[in-house]
Symmetry: C2
Subunit: 501 residues, 2 copies
């Protein structure tokens, strides 16, 4: 047992450094003054360098090799050793110089991206992005891959995920969703003007806080702040922070960001404190993480039951805007299917076209079949092709997402995977908790949260995504659940009786 | 030159870790959720451990020994090597286990102190404080001292400062101030009721921001937040943050905290970016730091000239409270000399009795002639003796200051030293800038700031406190300047013509 304790102390120290860096990043996106970025970049680079040293320390490697042969360990301990050994071997492939350079580059890119966005000027961001893409291609070669360089990046977020599989999945998705969205577009259109009246900042903020409280997000173990692009970050399961944004002329932004990040945060708050810094104290993968945010945002938050209780509160906050709008009309307005420019504001169906475009771009960047300077025109052409809309500015186009400025390539596909896992998990929850929708209708989210805590959160990395899905639903990820959910919901919303399958 | 560059890189990496820890601490006192402290303590301990490793790295010692014999270095470089070698030798005396234990203990103490303060229950804090005092006595033995164990702690904040000298100084101060305050107390008393009307939070906050802007505090290189106990912290000269507090029933708290911390922050913002992480890029000592905050708070901020421009703004913000109060009355109200409970709210004369009491307690704790459990009664007896007031609760007594919960013993005396340096520096500034008070009267703080930048800020640790004082004023620290300032100002305020010296 002594070796295991040494291993645990080592990993927890590594977690301390990573969480400290996460706080520096959180601060960088919320409260840092403009000139503070000058030294913040190097502080983050130094922490990244130290984390890398700890993660690749040969003493850790020796410990892990020895422990991986120790049959006296518990199941949970064995998983920790297996996962840590996998990470260790991967980390071994990175040089310290590469890690520090990448950290520095990311920190500078983030600020260039912010400025480029403010000034609607892609060329401010382009040289940084070029440098990042170059680093990512180096990284793929450094880490290694079997089929496609992009696989090496996907693996960070979704272990074992393959470009080839995603290509097939997105092809499948595209065909089924394209047909379905086309059918919707041929029906009389619903009206969502009510979402774009003027909604005062403070009341929106207060409403968002109420929604988080209703979800049982623990404000003693977290807080909400504002940032340009909403995100969730954790410094341990007892300090899990969310950010949101408020647009006074679009009620959607705050509501969906808040519930979405709340879903992520509940996962992190549900990890076990005892396993701080260990794989079993960490989320499985980004797609499972995303399944939690999407489940709350879409399957729960965009459902009629959710608004049975919450709509009254919203009406009281905004009597002028909503006093005369009934729940049925509001429910229709929030579930408009309409091609749009901004991924994070997209409806839950066309959303996957946004991901598809980013997937195609990332794949092409990794293959070297497209150059950074051509991204705006490539982007705009794809939006025309898949969503049939014109992109008026790069701020509303290629500059809209934070991810690339953070060096996160291979991240976007997990959003779609997450939605599909969410649909499959939620279908199972409806079976196992017969009163689920009635509870939600009454504003009681606890039965759902307890189900998620028990089936998903508490396990950490004890199971892989696939194992977990099999364990909970009795089968592997199956796109059918998403399409079933979509068809049932939107057939009713758009009176599609005649074309429903 | 290559060795010097290696040394510089090493020190700047050390600065990165320390500044990262400073951000974690800033967050801990401003935005952290309640339960977040659980893991924050260990994160800070880990960073402290890594910083200690870097600071005591034998490779650094070898570099410093070699560089200290390198006559080709510039004066500034030589000072850096000398100061770094001094630090290195001192750090060598600490064990890693001690540093980590102390960091953990401090982090827990801080939260115990917060709770003890909220619940007015000293016994919540006492066991943590006992542990800290034990560690401080160990530390004195570890670091070593010639005359008195307290010297070892004083040296952290004011290099070379001796308990024996402070004992003489405080004796001197006590006698002169006691007489003077007694004379004042025998005169008809001024009225400060105007300061305790109701002043709305937001308007106070806005006014504080204006004062900081007027001082040329750079909000692009810093920000202001709220905290229980105001402080200034820096993560490099381009990110220097202040906090303040707002009491709606006492206008003094926000005003003096804001100007005071603003003064500290201007010093940090005036350090050179090129010397990031090096001694010449750091403040000399706490007393010189405090001279900057006190100079702005007292010599400038509590002066009549300062309010010639600012009082109109304040009147406009609070017409109901101040519309009928003229500047002369307001000036008198803000300069009431009256024994009070809270150090940070004290007038600039009785303030030094508060410091005196803390100095006596710290000295006694280090000598072991008083026990932590007896602190409340000891504290209350001293307040009765020196200030002739009863302490009604420990929250307003022994629990009022953050310092001990931070493990900062030996810090308080620098407040008084800072005031005395401030008086001496300001007297010199008045000679060198004949229009100084006229500029302040017109709301132009730039001539003063430029004088401070040129004479103090830019040098970092290039000179010691004593050398700097000699260089600027032509003599060593001389208590006479403070008494001259006090006598001149309060003789006018309290019509003491007959007793003025």
């Amino acid at each position: 047992m002594k070796k295991y304790e040494t291993y645990k102390a080592h990993l927890q120290q590594l977690a301390d450094i990573r969480y400290a860096a996460a706080l520096l990043q959180w601060d960088q996106e919320t409260y840092i003054p403009k000139k503070g970025t000058l030294h913040r970049s190097r502080q983050l680079a130094t922490l990244a360098g130290i984390a890398h040293e700890l993660a690749t320390d040969p003493k850790l490697g020796d410990l892990l090799e020895a422990l991986s042969k120790d049959s006296s360990l518990s199941e949970r301990e064995k998983v920790n050793i297996k996962e840590s050994l996998r990470d260790y071997k991967k980390q071994q492939k990175y040089t310290k110089a590469f890690v520090e350079e990448q950290s520095r580059c990311i920190s500078q890119s983030f600020h260039a991206w912010q400025q480029a966005r403010e000034e609607n000027n892609f060329s401010i961001f382009a040289p940084h992005l070029e440098q990042l893409v170059k680093l990512k291609r180096e990284e793929a070669e450094m880490v290694g891959y079997e089929d496609h360089p992009y696989d090496a990046l996907l693996d960070h977020y979704e272990p074992g995920c393959k470009t080839a599989d995603l290509t097939v999945l997105f092809q499948d998705v595209k065909q089924q969703l394209v047909d379905f969205v086309k059918t919707i577009s041929e029906q009389p259109q619903n009206n969502d003007a009510v979402m774009f009246k003027h909604y005062a900042h403070q009341q929106q903020w207060d409403f968002g806080i109420e929604l988080l409280q209703q979800m049982h997000y623990d404000f003693d173990a977290g807080r909400q702040d504002l940032s340009a692009h909403p995100f969730t970050t954790s410094f341990g399961p007892k300090d899990v922070r969310v950010t949101t944004r408020v647009n006074e002329n679009d009620l959607n932004e705050m509501i969906w960001s808040t519930i979405h990040e709340g879903g992520h945060a509940l996962y992190e708050q549900g990890l076990t404190t005892e396993d701080y810094g260990l794989p079993t104290g960490e989320a499985i993968s980004l797609s499972i993480h995303e399944s939690q945010s999407r489940l709350w945002e879409n399957n729960v938050g965009r459902g009629r039951a959710y608004w049975e209780s919450n709509y009254k509160t919203l009406q009281q906050l905004f009597p002028q805007n909503l006093g005369e709008v009934d729940l049925a009309a509001f429910y229709k307005a929030m579930n408009i299917v309409k091609p749009s420019l901004i991924r994070t504001n997209a409806d839950e169906l066309t959303y996957h076209f946004h991901v598809l475009i980013r997937f195609e771009i990332e794949k092409a960047l990794m293959e070297g079949t497209i150059e950074v300077k051509d991204l705006p025109s490539y982007w705009n052409a794809r939006y025309k092709e898949y969503l049939n809309i014109e992109v008026p500015t790069d701020t509303q186009g290629v500059l809209q997402d934070i991810h690339w400025s953070h060096g996160s390539f291979g991240y976007f596909p997990t959003y779609s995977l997450g939605s599909f896992y969410a649909a499959q998990f939620y279908a199972q929850a409806l079976i196992e908790i017969p009163a689920l929708e009635a509870e939600i209708r009454a504003g009681n989210m606890l039965p759902l949260l307890q189900w998620l805590r028990e089936n998903i959160h508490q396990h950490g990395k004890l199971y892989t995504s696939e194992e977990l899905c099999q364990k909970i639903t009795g089968e592997k990820l199956n796109f059918k659940y998403f399409m079933d959910y979509a068809r049932k919901k939107y057939t009713a919303l758009y009176n599609l009786q005649t074309v429903a399958v």
